[in-house]
Symmetry: C2
């Protein structure tokens, strides 16, 4: 069996590598030609991903062929699509990358083939829009081919072990699709459960994100209250957590491609169905997470006032720009939001991140400074603030 | 060492019994004389509490003496207070039972004695009001005596195993108090951690409740969304949960002495400190949990419409009246709230609960009916609804 994996990003490439490791032939498709060449040369483009280097070295250019041309996957019978889904300024899902991927896959589709969507999507997407795209482009209908959803559950840095050990779910647009996709996925996924439909599989992944989104908001709220009551939040959180209690860690809000995105799938859908009152906790959580920028700005400015300098001359350095420590991505980065907000307040703000060069930071329209040159240093990952003498 | 335990309720009596089992002499104080007599006769007044019967039989009236007279505890040197703290109609804490207990303990207090508060209270209570009451009544000051807080973490039905195995915390109003109370508690508590202050210990217990409060609200919200999207919530919740995801179960809201009460300690305190915007998620969670009554009323009425009878003649039976299945207590019972709400809508509502007699239910100004006589049966614990033909 030959498998096509569409999208060789932070989620797609580890999956493609794990499928190759299971002994299957893989054609990986990605628009980024430079990345494809790297992979075919056995070079790992995601150095922060533990264990990936070994696999790319072993299979890249051999049983894992990367290409930018869909036609190179024409003799594949199993297709996995794992391209990003972003949300726009109004928090609406932008399906354009998914549409492009599926329309191209649809053109290659033959009777008996199976397609699995891995990208996290609003509930109903696979059985409605994805099915439509594939049927239109292929001239086939579900029944001629199989269609399922298995939401990725990776975490950059741990993706290989996640694919090998972490519980993963899969669900079809019909029973035959679910079973077919499940049977193939079991070759390379360590812990797999079949759920009753693709819609359930979609919902499962989205509510997992909502759980984190809300619990981060709760942690942020409790963190602020603890400060107000002169209580050590971290000591309290550690002492409170046990088998039935899982209070999260506070933060400057939620960043990245997942947590800040998924709740909007439900908020927008309920709005469409005139059930806006069904997303009260999710919207409150959004408010709290968003407001952490204002909160930490004030917190930082309080510290700046302790420096013997005019306030607007105090050099603030935020030591992190990526959305998560150690992951080179700035999608919905809270540190950038914080820096821009402090700038708007007229403060003298700089950023530093060991993953980014001075040039890369300046391309973001931010000022670069090493923390030793600053007066006040804020670490957006630990929330620690330091005054340098 | 002789230990006094003030309050022999669902939390106090199991604790008193476990202290007696550890080989210490215990004087248990409770206003309820009938209950005291039962205990001294070796009869367990809380049958739903696994393992308690054996202990009361063995120690009741022997090394565990129950009394309604504080003076009977005059030669005790260690005092534990574990009486209820309710909230009033405006959700303000009502300290009257605590005040009465501590003023009475204060009158008995001698140099070197140690007092521990077990009741969950707003952060700051032990070091401020409790300390004041004790100092005023005893004429001593902290330093002469020790004062600490160790919030109960029991769950009716599992209290004995909770006391023996579950992580418990303790913190003093000063370092000496914390250490002293910790050293004694280790005799009878299986897993104990000393935290840095009574204020932290108070906060720990309150935020544990806030975690449950918010996560129940989130589960309720996601349950309604799942219904709207024609998705099985329970299948999804089971598939979503893993090591890092703990989506709770939906409900008619939150009842009992703990979960609906503790968030108000923080909401009210922040309001006092003019930080109302620090409790956005907690207040949203309250709204969602409260609104489940309206939601299930509509849900039940939808089912009533399927019965071939005038709507207001359809007999609805709610099969549960206690705040939690198997616990005989109706404090903040959601089933009562639901029954009253349906009544207000003009529906013909009855309740049934195997823990309560017809007379007890009628005392609550509710109508009693066995479920087999009803047209529509709603189980408030499983949320299942059934139409009887």
């Amino acid at each position: 069996m030959k498998v096509a994996v569409v999208g060789l990003g932070k989620a797609g490439l580890p999956l493609a590598a794990v499928i190759a490791e299971a002994g299957l032939d893989v054609v990986g498709i990605d628009v980024d030609k430079k990345r494809c060449k790297q992979i075919n040369d056995g070079v790992n483009p995601i150095p922060e991903e533990a264990g990936l280097e070994k696999l790319i070295k072993k299979y890249g250019g051999k049983t894992l062929i990367a290409t930018s041309i869909y036609a190179d996957a024409k003799d594949c019978t199993f297709f996995v699509v794992i391209v990003p889904l972003f949300i726009d300024e109004q928090n609406n899902a932008d399906f354009s990358l998914l549409e492009n991927a599926f329309r191209n896959v649809g053109k290659l589709l033959k009777k008996g083939d199976c397609v699995v969507l891995e990208t996290t999507v609003p509930p109903g997407t696979t059985e409605k829009i994805v099915k439509d795209w594939l049927e239109k482009e292929s001239g086939l209908v579900v029944g001629d081919f199989y269609l399922a959803h298995s939401p990725e559950r990776i975490m950059t840095g741990y993706s290989i072990s996640r694919l090998k050990e972490f519980p993963k779910i899969i669900g079809g647009v019909d029973a035959a699709s679910g079973q077919k996709a499940y049977d193939v996925y079991r070759y390379f996924i360590g812990s797999l459960s079949l759920v009753s439909s693709s819609r359930v599989a979609e919902f499962v992944k989205v509510i997992e994100g909502c759980y984190r989104f809300t619990n981060i908001a709760l942690a942020n709220e409790l963190f602020k209250i603890a400060l107000e009551l002169d209580i050590d939040f971290y000591e309290s959180q550690k002492a409170a957590n046990h088998e039935f209690c899982h209070i999260h860690l506070p933060s400057t809000g939620v960043g990245g491609h997942c947590i800040p995105v998924y709740p909007w799938f439900l908020i927008k859908q309920m709005k469409k169905q005139q059930k806006e009152d069904y997303t009260v906790v999710l919207k409150a959580s959004h408010t709290v997470n968003e407001d952490m920028i204002k909160f930490f700005s004030q917190h930082i400015i309080q510290h700046c006032k302790k420096i013997n300098k005019p306030l607007k001359k105090v050099r603030i350095c935020i030591t992190g720009v990526s959305f998560r420590k150690g992951v080179k991505s700035i999608y919905k980065s809270r540190s950038i939001a914080l820096a821009k907000y402090l700038e708007k307040l007229g403060m003298d703000v700089y950023v530093y991140d060991e993953l980014y060069s001075k040039e890369e930071i300046e391309q973001m329209k931010l000022s670069f400074l090493t923390p030793d040159k600053a007066d006040v240093v804020f670490d957006p990952f630990t929330l620690k603030i330091e005054i340098l003498k």
